[in-house]
Symmetry: C2
Subunit: 235 residues, 2 copies
């Protein structure tokens, strides 16, 4: 029987008076590893990074990361377990607000915002920008299918969004609703994953780092797409 990783931590709220002692607390080390992993995975992808690179960046011996997270994939998943709830909660909050809005046009706009804004914000919040890139990469990686991480963490909220859209625009077909949602996700992910191409092509006029401008434009586009983008009825 192999030694199991310490997945669950007691996380004792010990006094941090001895902060600069030889060993920072275990929790701090775990956090540092997670941080490094996030950055490295964002830059090079799951397969593009070796556990050693992560360990090097975190300034810990390689073995430690296996001790704390069990495996490379365990470490990877830990990133999502930490970050996913943040944006899921924000989306839920946005959806609740949209629900109360009587005006249809505004309601759709609020739903769009509920989906896009949390992620776009995270993208520009320096600290989390790497997670945004990991997320973007994960959705376009067939291997993620095996990891099931998107499905596990984000499918539930996806259902909530499509439901909300359906309620806001009852005259739409289910297909229209879903393709509309996919379109939203697409532009969001593409923008989050941006590696400088948008800025390059636009001569610097468009920059995903500028959260306000980006959100404004994308929300306007997707709102219009959802409200006015009807497919000509068959036959």
């Amino acid at each position: 029987m192999t030694k199991m990783a310490r997945s669950e931590k007691s996380e004792p709220d010990h006094k941090v008076g001895v902060a600069d002692a030889p060993h920072r607390s275990a929790a701090a080390t775990r956090a540092r590893i997670l941080e490094s992993a996030e950055a490295e995975f964002a830059d090079h992808g799951f397969d593009g990074v070796s556990v050693r690179q992560i360990a090097l960046r975190a300034e810990v011996p390689v073995a430690l990361i296996n001790y704390h997270y069990g495996s490379k994939e365990g470490l990877y998943r830990a990133i999502f377990e930490m970050r996913a709830p943040m944006i899921v909660d924000q989306r839920l909050a946005g959806l609740r607000l949209a629900e109360m809005e009587p005006d249809q046009e505004r309601k759709v706009e609020m739903i769009v915002k509920a989906v896009l804004v949390p992620n776009l914000h995270m993208r520009s919040a320096e600290k989390n920008s790497s997670y945004a890139r990991i997320l973007a990469r994960e959705v376009s990686d067939p291997k993620s299918h095996d990891r099931k991480v998107i499905q596990e963490f984000f499918d539930p909220i996806a259902y909530k969004v499509t439901e909300a859209l359906q309620k806001a625009m009852p005259d739409r077909t289910i297909e229209e609703i879903h393709w509309g949602y996919q379109a939203m996700l697409g532009v969001m992910v593409y923008t989050m994953a941006d590696t400088g191409r948008i800025s390059r092509l636009s001569g610097g006029r468009c920059d995903p780092e500028e959260e306000m401008a980006t959100s404004t434009h994308l929300v306007a586009l997707m709102k219009a797409a959802l409200l006015y983008g009807r497919v000509p009825k068959k036959e």
Copy 2:
């Protein structure tokens, strides 16, 4: 000095009468390697695949692929050198058609189609579906930045598209044009990269494999986004 790869082939149009001879022609072998590489890269990404896996699938010894393509990256680039012109040409043709259209609304729709349809078609054409997934992956991979493959092959056509959009909708700001274009690319790439999530979320109602339905919906959405998605003017 290392032995250089045979990047350029004389590609002699020799008689293929002896097709089933012990050695298939060199060109055929090259092609077979390229095919296998395409499939493997699509499934696992550049870093997720070893040259051995590709060689195994193509049923050739490992060394042969280094002989023909010099290196793993050389092989990767060869895929784009083969496929990119196909879709670039189709887009250009679409743009030329759009140019003659007098009606603005139709014109924009034609530009959208010129961008989306070639890729979506390739996605569903069984043979090339793997290339579509490679492409999708490449745009969300910062490492591609180093490889410069997107920039090299697709930036030129991107400029042509934004120009066309500008001419079709002269009242738009440059930012609106570019964000509109990025949105188009986003939904396209996301759809091309799909790993089954779209179908799963929609209970099987939406499937990127169904080219007609997919194109119809996405074109309708993006046309509306571009035509009616104006950002409220500042101040």
